[in-house]
Structure formats: C-alpha cells, structure tokens
C-alpha cells in the first residue's frame, strides 16, 4: 500500500514534537531549524498548522532540477534529494509552489521531506494524531466516515 502523510490541523497543539523528531531523524540533533516539517502558528485565529511536502505525483521540484538530483523512492513514492548529486542551485526551491523544498547553507544542498524511508518520524512523534501516515488513496476516509455517520439520521433515533 502506498502511504501519505495526512495532516489534520484541527488536532495540532503546536508542541513541535514533529519538528524535533524530524531533525533528530535527519541530523541526529533536536533542532527545529533543521526540521523538514514546520508548524505554523496563526496566533490570532487560534490555529496551528503543520506543513510539509505533499510528494506531488508530477513533482515541480523533480522536473526543474537540472542535474537530476531528485529521484522517486519507488517504495514510498517520496521525492528524495540525492545529496551527492545536488549542486545547491536552488532552482527546485523556485519551482515548488508550496515552499517545501529549502536550501540549507550548512550543507550547501537543498532539503525536503523524504518520508523517512517509509516510517515518518513526525507522525510517530505526534501526540494528537494531527499528523498520520495512512493509505494515500484514502486520506479522506476518516472524514468521510464522520460525515457518513451524520447522514443517516434515522439510524440514530
């Protein structure tokens, strides 16, 4: 089964466990500044929103890369940066409509979510299930189920 990260902002408390887990997985340190998932706090709306790469099927970043440093991980569908190939030209950061590929001046390469090879640390660390890793063909299933439950009002009587 192909899986996707699925984000439900309504459940996010803004604790940043995901950012720490991501940075720990990729750098060995707890370091939100190196996290590939970011939580945004829309303070005066009372909303927190985790955001990261959605792994586009037709990936702008991959198509824009002049040196073919972005490859598809066949097992997960993740678009993965090949550090050995990346020249740090940043064209992919321009191409990505969502801003989820970013340059790191420490490594001289770009970085983006790679789904941790199929076991995303952010989803594992999230205490409220605001981030889950689920069947990519059915990310709407839970929401459908909730609405389905409301639909047949006769059954609840």
């Amino acid at each position: 089964m192909q899986k996707s990260l699925h984000i439900d902002p309504g459940k996010c408390t803004g604790c940043l466990q995901c950012e720490m887990a991501c940075s720990y997985e990729h750098t060995g340190a707890f370091n939100p500044s190196r996290s590939l998932i970011k939580v945004f706090d829309f303070h005066h709306e009372g909303r927190k929103v985790p955001y990261t790469c959605t792994q586009c099927a037709e990936a702008w970043c991959l198509n824009a890369c002049p040196v073919e440093a972005i490859k598809v991980d066949a097992s997960t569908g993740a678009k993965v940066i090949l550090d050995a190939v990346c020249v740090g030209c940043k064209v992919c950061t321009i191409a990505c409509p969502f801003g989820t590929v970013n340059y790191s001046h420490e490594t001289g390469k770009v970085q983006k979510c790679d789904l941790c090879g199929g076991d995303p640390a952010c989803a594992e660390a999230c205490p409220t299930d605001a981030i889950t890793y689920i069947d990519s063909d059915w990310t709407g299933l839970e929401r459908m189920r909730k609405w389905a439950q409301k639909t047949d009002s006769a059954a609840r009587v």
Binding site: L16, E45, G46, K48
Partner: protein, 615 residues
C-alpha cells in the same frame, strides 16, 4: 551531556557579552535551571543587595532536558533577588524561548550591572550583542516582539521581554516570552527594568545533539509520553479544561479564597470556570475558549487560547484585542476574579490580556486589587484617592486598575507596589494576604492545612509551585490525605518541595508530576546527562537546592518568624462550606517541619545538615 556547557555573561554597565565554560562540578550537584542558576546567584551577589540596584544580577537558565524530545522539555527559569519579597526569586516559564536559547548553544545567561540607556540582547547562536532599545522603551511586550522580528527579518526569532510594568518597576512585573508565557512571579520583570534591559531575542540553529545515551533517552522519553497520555489529569483533564478544571472543584471544597480571603466560597465561581469558557456566549454564539495550546515539546497542552467578547465594555472600541489570544489559567482567573469578587469572565480575560501585554503577574496584581477593594470597602481608601469607585465585584474597577497599573498611571503606581506595601501605607498591614511580601495563589491555607504550611515555608514567598500539597489534599496524588488534618503534612511537604526542586532544575514542567513520579523522570535525566543520577541522589539534590535557597534568604534578612501566614488565616475561621470553622494551624506543623529539614527550632539549617548536603 545535554548541557551545552556554555554560559553567556552579559555586563550591561560595560556593554560586554562574554562566553564562559559552565561549572560542571556545580552542574553535577545542581543539574540545571533553578538549582544551578541559584548556585551561581548565591555565589555572585551579596544577599543584602538592593534587588533593583545594578549590584543585583538576573539569570536566565535552561535545564539539561530543555530543547529535547522529553515531553514538556522547554522550560527556563529566571533567578534573581526579588524586589517584591527581598528573598530569592525563581520564576519558571514555558513557551518556546527556553528551547531556542539552548538551540543557540547556551545553558544560561547571567546579566549583571545596568545599561546607561535602554538596550536589548540579540543572540544568534554564538554571536551575542547588546543593541539600543530606546525606541522599544515605553512599548508593550507584544509590540516589542513584533518590532524585533521585523527589524531582524526573522519570523522565527524567540523573544523574552518586559512591558511597561517592568520598565516602571511594578514590583510584580513579569518577564513574558512568546506573547503569553511568563516568568511571572516575584517581580523578576522589575529587575530587568531596573537594568534598562528591555528584551532578549534569540535564534538558535545549533540544536541539542549531545545526549549522553540517545537511544536510552528516546526510549525513556517515549515511555514518559505514554504515561502522560494515559493519565486522566494530563491526558484528558488538562488538555480539555486547562488548569481551570480546578475552579469549581476548589470552590466546592470551601477552599477558594474570595474577596481578599474574607470568604472561602465564591458565588460567581461557575461563571468564571473552565466549564463557562466552553459554553457558547449569548452575545455572539461563540465559546470563550478557542482551543488548547502546547508549550515547546509538551504533550499535555494545557494552555488556553481564548477569544474575548467583542461587545464587552472593556474592548468594544479596541479591535486590537479581538483576536484569539492567551486565555485564563486557573490562578489568573482566581486572582482577577474570585479574589476581587468579580464574576465577569470577559473582564477577567481583558485584565489577563493586559497582564500579558505589559508584563504583570496576574496573581499578585489581582490579589492586590482584592486588598484595595477591601480598603475601599472599609472606607480607608476613597474614590478620590483611587480615582474610581472600587467596590468588591466591580469589573469596571478591575479593568481600569489593570490599565493604570500596567501603564504607571495615577493610583496604579501605588497598586504596583503590591499588597504588602499598599496595606502598610494605609495603616492596615494585616489585610495584606501575603507571605514574605508575595501574594497568595488560589487555594485557602485554612481549608488545606498542608497548603498553608507550603505557603509559610516557600522560599519565594506565598506560592503553590514550591510544594503543591493540593495534589494530595484534593486529588489524592500520590496518596489522598485529609485537607483538615495537620498530621503527616510536614513530611509530605518536605518530599514535595525536594522533588519539585528536581523537576524545576531539569527543564521539565512540574505539571508532569500529576502523572509522573521519579520513576518516570529519573530515567530521562539519567539517559540525557552524563554521570550517575540515581533517584536518591536527585532527591538529595532537591534538598540541597532547598537549603541553598533557605541560606540565601536567611542571609538576606528573613528569620523563622517570617515562616507564617497573615493573621486572618491564623485567627479568622472559614465562614462557610466544607472548611467552615477552620483556621491555618501552622504552629502544629512548623516545629516538626524544621526538625525534618534538619533545621534549628528557629528555622536555620544546622552545621550537620549543611555538611550532609555539601553546602
């Protein structure tokens, strides 16, 4: 390791920022944050120093677990000599600032001297510099944070600052980070103000990577999170209702101090409770509470995000307050509400917003308003003197006094001196509901005997966070004790105080202890920090910290006679409810407490005790 092993020493008089190695011998004895910063403070300042003079120092300290994946591992403490109390001040804050300081590579910042003109400290990893803050002086915490993010073109900057209350040296001024998390108590904000230090802005990209045994740490942290999630208080009660879950519970016990402790039950408690925050308002059909929010790394998420009623008199012409914002915690709701007899939830939220915006401790502010209202009720303070009518229950007076105090206007300047000084000034010192100059929090020391002793003996003046006996006397954690009973309370309190000192020195939040015991905490510290950290050594460290603070306070001039409660709590029995007829029986408990502590009958640690603890 978990420590960065680096201290930033900032001398405001000289304008210097210097990196120093952390004293690892002390780290092994005091761990971090509260304990370690206290060790530095007592070795560097004269206990008799005027807290608001350049000779006082102020320390911002993280713990070894700050900035790690341990749940709640984002705390920092501000340690200094407190102007409200004249004893050691140690105020603990969550939010995101503490972790950011650690990510920048610093265990703590020691600030000394006084800047000739207003400055702020800007830290970007190892680079630290003092920059002019003349344009920030006179502005609020909220405005300061926004300005600095813009100035440094850095939306990820974390800021800890004072508002106008700290600048004006309101004696209960707070230091506020991340808009509404505060090192709230004992007037630490006034110390910052006295030094012309407006703010500390930090950006850290180094991270915390030096965990002693990373694999063991991740296992211990994960196990700890599971315990928090499965516990009814930390897994359900606190996320859903916040600390406000207490309002109705404490009121129903007859333990909710009301109208400057004249009463112990508040008829309006339900209207200012967690439950009320969840209900839809008649005015706009929306609930006061928007959502809960976590501090850094916290899997409990007890924080409140509220939206004030736009039609309320306090904000109807002030749209800048209409958005979602930091909401009422239990202590604030009590102090701004019950302590003054005010049952208007929206008025409480407005006063709470002002406390965050201009950096004031809502507990001491609210409790001082309670004292002012009693003086008004007795005819000692007049409408002319205050500038407005201030009867118990007046939401208008509460809101106006909050503005006046935060901005240093008129009677606000007097109110900003705190309850002890206000009551003394008007010839009624006995009406000040304080211990060592600091106002009580939200539990009546008559109704909960153990809490009464906790207040009397707290090293930072009246405080619920130095030994939270409510946990046992109300919730039965770790065991249920009868709140009316004095027997056994000294021993339990000592254990609570010592264990709390450990938590406060680690980088973790004390709220974890609703679910966690040392069995959960010790493995996380042990895995993160090099060296041997057994439960026994940790608890002895807690005791060492307690005695270190006590020694400082004694040298600062307090005596065992200060370990007491106001006459009202000792002599005027609770009038109603489950606590009817009770007074605080400190005399029954204090000698035993001193003895258990290894102190003389006058409350002084003996030479044997000092030697046993390595002091």
């Amino acid at each position: 390791m978990a420590w960065t092993r680096k201290i930033l020493r900032v001398n405001l008089t000289q304008g210097s920022c210097v990196s120093e190695a952390l004293n690892m011998e002390w780290a092994a004895q005091y761990l971090g944050q509260r304990g370690l910063a206290s060790r530095y403070l007592v070795s560097e300042i004269d206990p008799k120093v005027d807290p608001l003079s350049p000779e006082n120092k102020i320390i911002y300290a993280t713990g070894p677990l700050t900035g790690t994946m341990a749940s709640t591992g984002g705390r920092y403490s501000v340690v200094t000599k407190g102007p409200l109390t004249g004893v050691i001040a140690c105020s603990n804050s969550g939010g995101f600032f503490g972790a950011e300081l650690k990510f920048a590579g610093w265990d703590m910042i020691i600030v000394e001297g006084k800047a000739p003109t207003p400055v702020y400290l800007h830290i970007e990893n190892e680079r630290a510099e003092l920059l002019p803050a003349d344009d920030l002086w006179g502005t609020t915490v909220w405005s300061t944070e926004a300005t600095l993010k813009k100035r440094h073109q850095d939306p990820l900057l974390r800021v800890s600052s004072i508002g106008r209350a700290g600048e004006n040296q309101v004696l209960f001024a707070a230091i506020v980070n991340d808009l509404h998390r505060a090192a709230g108590r004992s007037g630490v904000g006034a110390v910052m103000g006295s030094k012309n230090l407006k703010a500390i802005a930090v950006r850290g990209t180094r991270g915390v990577g030096n965990i002693a045994d990373a694999k063991a740490f991740m296992a211990a942290a994960t196990a700890g999170k599971k315990v928090l999630a499965e516990n009814a208080v930390t897994g359900q009660g606190l996320p859903t209702y916040g600390t406000q879950v207490l309002m109705n519970v404490i009121n129903e016990m007859g333990a909710l101090p009301t109208r400057n402790h004249r009463d112990v039950e508040f008829e309006g408690a339900r209207k200012i409770s967690a439950e009320a925050m969840h209900e839809k308002r008649a005015s706009d059909g929306r609930a006061h509470l928007v959502t809960n929010q976590a501090c850094f790394g916290c899997t409990i998420a007890c924080g409140r995000i509220s939206r004030i009623d736009e039609t309320h008199f306090s904000v109807e012409t002030k749209p800048e307050y209409w958005g979602a914002n930091g909401g009422l915690e239990y202590e604030a709701a009590w102090a701004l509400g019950s302590a003054n007899g005010v049952d208007d939830l929206e008025a409480l939220q407005f006063a709470n917003l002002l406390c965050n915006e201009d950096g004031m401790d809502p507990i001491s502010f609210g409790a001082t308003v309670g004292a002012v209202m009693e003086l008004y009720d007795l005819g000692i303070l007049s409408k002319e003197e205050i500038g407005l009518e201030a009867p118990f229950g007046s939401a208008e007076a509460l809101c106006r006094l909050a503005e006046m105090t935060a901005r240093g206007e008129g009677f606000g300047k007097i109110l900003g001196q705190g309850s002890k000084r206000v009551c003394a000034k008007y010839g009624k010192p006995e009406l000040s509901m304080t211990v060592k100059g600091q106002e009580f929090p939200a539990y009546d020391g008559r109704a909960l005997q153990g809490m009464g002793l906790a207040y009397a003996t707290s090293n930072r003046g009246a405080c619920h966070l130095r030994g939270y006996m409510v946990s046992s006397e109300v919730f039965g954690i770790p065991v249920k004790t009868d709140p009316r009973e004095t027997a056994g309370k000294p021993e339990m309190l000592k254990a609570f105080q010592d264990a709390t000192a450990v938590v406060d020195s680690s980088g973790l939040c004390v709220f974890t202890t609703f679910a966690w015991t040392m069995n959960d905490i010790q493995p996380q510290i042990q895995a993160a920090c090099e060296g041997e950290w057994s439960q026994e050594s940790l608890l002895q460290m807690g005791e060492r910290i307690w005695n270190l603070e006590r020694d400082f306070n004694l040298a600062a001039g307090i005596t065992g006679k200060d370990d007491t409660l106001p006459p009202r709590l000792l002599n005027e029995p609770c009038k109603t409810g489950g606590s009817k007829g009770m007074v605080a029986e400190i005399g029954k408990m204090l000698p035993e407490y001193y003895s258990l502590r290894g102190w003389t009958p006058d409350g002084v640690p003996t030479a044997a005790t000092r030697s046993r603890l390595g002091l």
